[in-house]
Amino acid sequence: MKKVIGIFCLLLVVCVATAMMSDQFLTKYNIENLLRRTGLFGILSVGVAFVIITSGIDLSIGSVVCLVGVGLPWMLTVLKVPLGLALLTVFGVSLGIGWAHGLLVTKLRIQPFVVTLCGLLIYRGLARGITRDQTMGFGNDFKALRWLATEKISAPGIEGFGVPLPFILMIGVAILAAILLNQTVHGRYLLALGRNEDAARYSGINTHRMIIMAYVICAAMAGFGGMLFVLDVNSAQPADFGNFYELYAIAAAVLGGCSLRGGQGTILGVILGTALMQVLRTMITLVDALPKNIEYAIIGAVILGGVATDELVKRYVAQRKAAKQLQA
């Protein structure tokens, strides 16, 4: 909980600073945009948080986003597959990818890094192969479907402002994820095995099944996110659509309090981490004094600073605790 408060304060500070340096930050347009992007990236981050909690990693998220992002319009516009079947296929492929990752990690005991790094290459290659590197989009069709990503729910009382639907979808996903993680035995098992897989196994927990579940959730969220991304922008280039998205997702999760050692993390923290990343990107765009091309450097520095501070605080607390006990 302390971590969540810490990240929330950091988010607040960055927002206030940006608002002071740029008069465009608090415009309705910009806030809508921020919420939409936080929603889209938040879905990816929540997914990867489950994998990170098992002390795993998923590097294939960006490629899954791409595979789904170009695969869906390709099926609909090139193959003319019926909408229902196309959605079912996208959904099935995402789940299958997660399931395969989980099996490889648990049954064959290949390191998650290696499994999903190969996934990153394979799905990107497949996406580019099936589309022959052609940009994919929906043109002017499938308005009803695109509504999912482009619609805004107008906020009562504020003229000309609406909360983007992806943000609301993300909130829904986050609530479900938080219930799964904190209120169900499966969530407890995930946290337990993330801390100590052996002890969890010795307690009769089917650790393999739980780990596979985490990878399936992650890939499903990547697929869902990928669909929303392409519905939002309506144009996806197979060569770079979703590039680096896994790193944004992982960074947001880590910033939000997940430890890559596993067993730690809150959904609220992950959402706040995602929001912080998006605000930082906006800040770089809006504040004229900042050169645009150092975006990655700033994001990297903030994440490093956040994690290092967290580590130092932890150490300080542990020392104080030890000193207290020595006195007692």
Binding site: V185, G204, I205
Partner: protein
């Protein structure tokens, strides 16, 4: 030899070589050492004994610079020294031979001897010829006839230990600390080691020697220092070094009271003996010794110990029964019905529970709360459509903390902050929630203090009295002797003998455990 050394009270004329005064060490939740004193003279063999958790290993690690200390002084030749790193300790001539060997087993013997201080040519290239030459000299000192080019992984544990000793000598160690050096050695290797120790002592090297084997202590030590609960409990010399004296100092009270059970429960034990078998293993082959078929049984209300040296296959028997590693072959019957324990969940459903050997790695989850740890094993049965049974968790943790006397500020405390004994009670408590019919315990009291030990014993007894069958593996002789209705003694994967309570003695167990003896009662039950 020991006689004349002890007869000359060197301490009165010359200052001790190494002196430790008032060492204090605090771990989260437990005071491991409270103002411990220790002295060693030149060429002396000092045995440090004490129960697990008495603080011996912590003290040795402090002397070797592996662990820091919170207060106290260390003097060498009467001069205060700081041993705040392994390098510092080594530079003063203090070297520790670890319980777990610290060799890089992918490198050669020679490379290990000179690791970190390799002789070089032109300041850059490792001088392999010199390593081989110099290594030979140090290996000869410990009577180890292996080629310095041999890979360490190709050596037996005993020989690896000799390499460690040679390595310590090669940095001019004046004080050699050995933590349970014989625990994983064969009889023959242990004899060799004893000779090396005597030889080194004759050359003026001081040896600080931790051992659980009281026979060995009697044989080797000039002096014995006993630790109990992190404090000095007393000292014995020569004639005073008897089994009774050692155990009395270690335990701090009369042994017969400590290890229960003496005769008060005679009747219930007599009843247990007539119960039908609760657990039977027939031709069971474990993954560690796939060629050895094991047969044994356990009755309701019976406490059966498994004795044996490290590596005898005790842990593997328990792990196989519990489905951690499925059996290669053979049958497990519970109340006469065959069960397949392919995974822990199957075993749990069949009424089994295992408190594993390595508490911190397998028994509990240190970074989770007492409450979450206690409910972890029974969540599956108590879940409400997948949701956490929060009321049950609260009720269970309150009940367990009270019944098992778990000392914790509250059930939201992380288990890592509890003392070893209380951690062990949590590891046990999570199974009691399931009311198992058969309780398997692997080293039930490793590394916990004497008070907690007694409590664990009481819990085991009361469970047995209620008809739970208990099978426990232990390296502590006293525990096996004191608690078992029967003891299985294992050696290299085989059950060498089954000793009834009347036949139980340290000698009988050691004979079987070292594989020398004929097997008088090989049948089970």
């Amino acid at each position: 030899m020991s006689l004349d050394l002890a007869a000359a009270p060197a301490e009165t004329t010359s200052a001790p070589l190494l002196e430790v005064r008032g060492i204090v060490k605090q771990f989260p939740g437990v005071k491991a050492l409270r103002e411990v004193n220790l002295t060693v003279s030149r060429g002396e063999v000092l045995a440090v004994v004490g129960e697990n958790g008495a603080g011996k290993s912590t003290l040795m690690k402090i002397l070797a610079g592996v662990q820091s200390y919170d207060a106290g002084t260390v003097l060498l030749d009467g001069v205060e020294i700081r041993v705040d790193s392994v390098e510092a300790a080594l530079s003063h001539g203090i070297a520790l031979i670890h319980q777990e060997l610290n060799l890089a087993d992918n490198l050669t013997v020679g490379a290990n001897l000179f690791l970190g201080r390799e002789p070089r040519r032109w300041g850059m290239v490792i001088d392999h010829d010199r390593i081989a030459r110099d290594a030979r000299q140090w290996l000869d000192r410990v009577g180890l006839e292996v080629d310095p080019q041999t890979l360490v992984s190709d050596l037996s544990i005993g020989r690896q230990q000799m390499v460690e000793i040679a390595k310590a000598l090669s940095v001019n160690a004046r004080v050699l600390i050995m933590d349970e050096p014989t625990s994983s050695l064969t009889q023959h290797e242990a004899e060799q080691l004893k000779n090396v120790i005597r030889d080194l002592s004759g050359r003026g090297v001081s040896i600080v020697y931790i051992s659980h084997r009281l026979g060995e202590v009697r044989e080797l030590a000039h002096r014995v220092s006993v630790l109990r609960d992190g404090a000095n409990a007393g000292e014995l010399r020569d004639g005073q070094i008897t089994h009774e004296n050692l155990v009395r100092l270690m335990v701090g009270r009369d042994v017969s009271q400590f290890y229960r059970r003496a005769d008060a429960t005679k009747e219930s034990r007599a009843m247990a003996a007539s119960n039908p078998p609760l657990l039977q293993a027939r031709g069971l082959k474990t993954f560690a010794y796939p060629r050895e078929a094991l047969d044994f049984e356990l009755r309701a209300g019976e406490i059966v110990g498994i004795a044996g040296l490290v590596g005898a296959g005790r842990t593997e028997v328990l792990q196989t029964l519990f489905g951690i590693e499925p059996a290669i072959e053979g049958e497990i019957l519970i109340s006469g019905k065959p069960v397949r324990a392919l995974c822990p969940r199957d075993a749990i459903d069949a009424g089994l529970a295992l408190v594993p050997e390595d508490r911190k790695a397998q028994g509990v989850i240190l970074a989770m709360t007492v409450r979450s740890n206690l409910s972890l094993a029974s969540l599956r049965q108590r879940q409400r459509r997948g949701f956490l049974p929060k009321a049950y968790e609260e009720e269970l943790s309150a009940r367990s903390i009270a019944n098992l006397n778990i000392k914790t500020p509250g059930d939201e405390q992380e288990v890592g902050f509890l003392s070893g004994g209380n951690q062990q009670k949590v590891a046990l408590g999570k199974w009691l929630a399931l009311e198992p019919r058969i309780l398997l315990l692997d080293e039930p009291t490793r590394g916990i203090d004497v008070g907690a030990k007694a409590e664990i014993y009481r819990i085991m007894e009361s469970l047995a009295a209620r008809g739970v069958g208990i099978l426990f593996a232990s390296s502590e002789m006293e525990e096996v002797l004191g608690l078992s209705d029967r003891a299985l003694v294992m050696h290299e994967g085989r059950i060498r003998g089954v000793l009834a309570r009347a036949e139980l003695s340290e000698e009988a167990i050691m004979r079987l455990a070292t594989g020398q003896a004929a097997t008088p009662t090989l049948s089970t039950g």
